[in-house]
Symmetry: C2
Subunit: 286 residues, 2 copies
């Protein structure tokens, strides 16, 4: 099912204005969230983030409208959960980049199954050599519709035999994986790049930083090089669907595992956080 | 009217698969062309360019299919012309960045009026300070669906009272305007940045370079700074719809006009080129 401007359609096909700037120009943002039994994990955080993003790109959409549409789709989730995607575009416009004087935004919510096997699934990375993430644009801190750079990075990583891409910014600092934030654990510290390194302010990224002390770690935002990751006690990824995933190798070189126990502690804290927010511990979903 | 996968629909609204990666991920490319009486200007150049682009992003769409769809829409143009937009996406996909094993691309062609007044319309520019174009991605040389960076740049320029944005790359070299290539004329030379400076290989850009000698100029591709533009005999923009436009000021500072006659000669050559290709001189369109 798909919810378009509050109307529910069976399947994923429904009427669409092909002049929608989301399609023609990538003029929009999205959020991905998990929900169980109608309850969305960290919904306020996601609505906060897309609200800041919409403001950054000069769009106004009432938060209550987004909350209502997400809520309507979340109501279709049960004990096995679901993955919600909220997409907001600037709506239809005439030819050219200038937005209409009075935009009529499009709000879309889709629902996909939640797959618990992706949580903590070990992953290998390959550094994307042909693509850098553009830290010189505010869009690098937004969850925009323009993912072609990361599609190219992922394709390159898969050709190299890795599971995901390690994407650097234009100064060759670590930015992220194709759809996840990157952390390292080293010498009692939990480190992740600052937002200025073309980093999306991930909802789970923020949660992990605030939960660092549960694993006896001190959270630090600092720029990281690939060598910093190679030298870590552990490296892991976070996002809203997979929560956490340990990285086992980068460019074919195995990483240390001495920090893996602390990654497990952080994942347990994230899972408990989901249980507190939604009533369902995702570790118990079959 | 809109043509979607070969089917014509009245208006711009038609059925759409909301799982289309063009909308969800900006996974696609487009071309903008002008046509008169069914004849598309430089159609082969546009099909060549999107063909290279599709290959770069790992997509396969038969050229004959694209030519047929563009031709079907072009057949609706008359003596006053039209602007065709060909959009190609990777089609529907499951959640995530990895493309489906067997993508089913979506091919869309739209038609808008041709406005001859935009040709040679003088324009002022403002340097986009908050956005740099990402020369560190192959996508910067492709006409992708992801135009949010330029939407932000244009909005900034409009707030500064200018007509268009002057977009720099991450090394602060001139890349382009929001939807046009940039040229300068100086001391008998016609200069434009090389593609490696985050430059789209514009169809009209290539035509202007090959027509330089009609204005007594020697064509040179070299990196340009904002100061280089300020010091020019003339600065102008090119794209497939406006052909050429003189730039009169950058950041409120008026530019020299001594090279404006050569811009006019180049524009006349471009217009004659359109006449040769389509049978209609766009300067004669009311």
């Amino acid at each position: 099912v798909i919810l378009v401007d509050g109307a529910l359609h069976e399947g994923s096909t429904a009427p669409f204005d092909y002049a929608d700037r989301g399609l023609t120009l990538g003029d929009g943002l999205f959020e991905t969230m998990i929900a169980f039994d109608g309850r969305v994990h960290r919904l306020d955080d996601h609505l906060d983030r897309i609200g800041v993003g919409l403001s950054t790109i000069g769009m106004v959409v009432p938060r209550a409208r987004l909350a209502a549409d997400v809520g309507a789709m979340a109501a279709r989730t049960g004990a096995t959960g679901g993955v919600l995607r909220l997409t907001v575009t600037r709506g239809a416009g005439a030819r050219g980049l200038a937005p209409p004087d009075h935009p009529n935004p499009t709000v879309i919510v889709s629902l996909a199954p939640f797959d618990p096997r992706l949580m903590m699934q070990p992953v290998t990375l390959a550094v994307a050599n042909t693509v850098r993430r553009n830290d010189r644009s505010p869009a690098s801190r937004l969850k925009t519709l323009g993912y072609l750079d990361h599609i190219l990075a992922l394709a390159e990583a898969r050709r190299a035999g890795a599971g995901d891409a390690l994407v650097l910014d234009t100064r060759d600092r670590v930015a992220c994986a194709s759809v996840a934030n990157v952390f390292r654990i080293v010498a009692g510290r939990l480190e992740t790049p600052p937002l200025t390194d073309a980093v999306l302010p991930g909802v789970i990224r923020a949660r992990v930083l605030s939960l660092a002390d549960t694993a006896g770690l001190v959270a630090v935002e600092r720029s990281l090089s690939v060598a910093d990751l190679m030298a870590a006690d552990a490296v892991f990824l976070t996002n809203s669907v997979r929560l956490a995933q340990p990285v086992t190798a980068i460019d074919g070189q195995g990483l240390a595992e001495v920090g893996r126990g602390q990654v497990a502690v952080l994942f347990a804290a994230l899972a408990a956080d989901v249980a507190a927010g939604t009533g369902t511990d995702p570790r118990g979903v079959a």
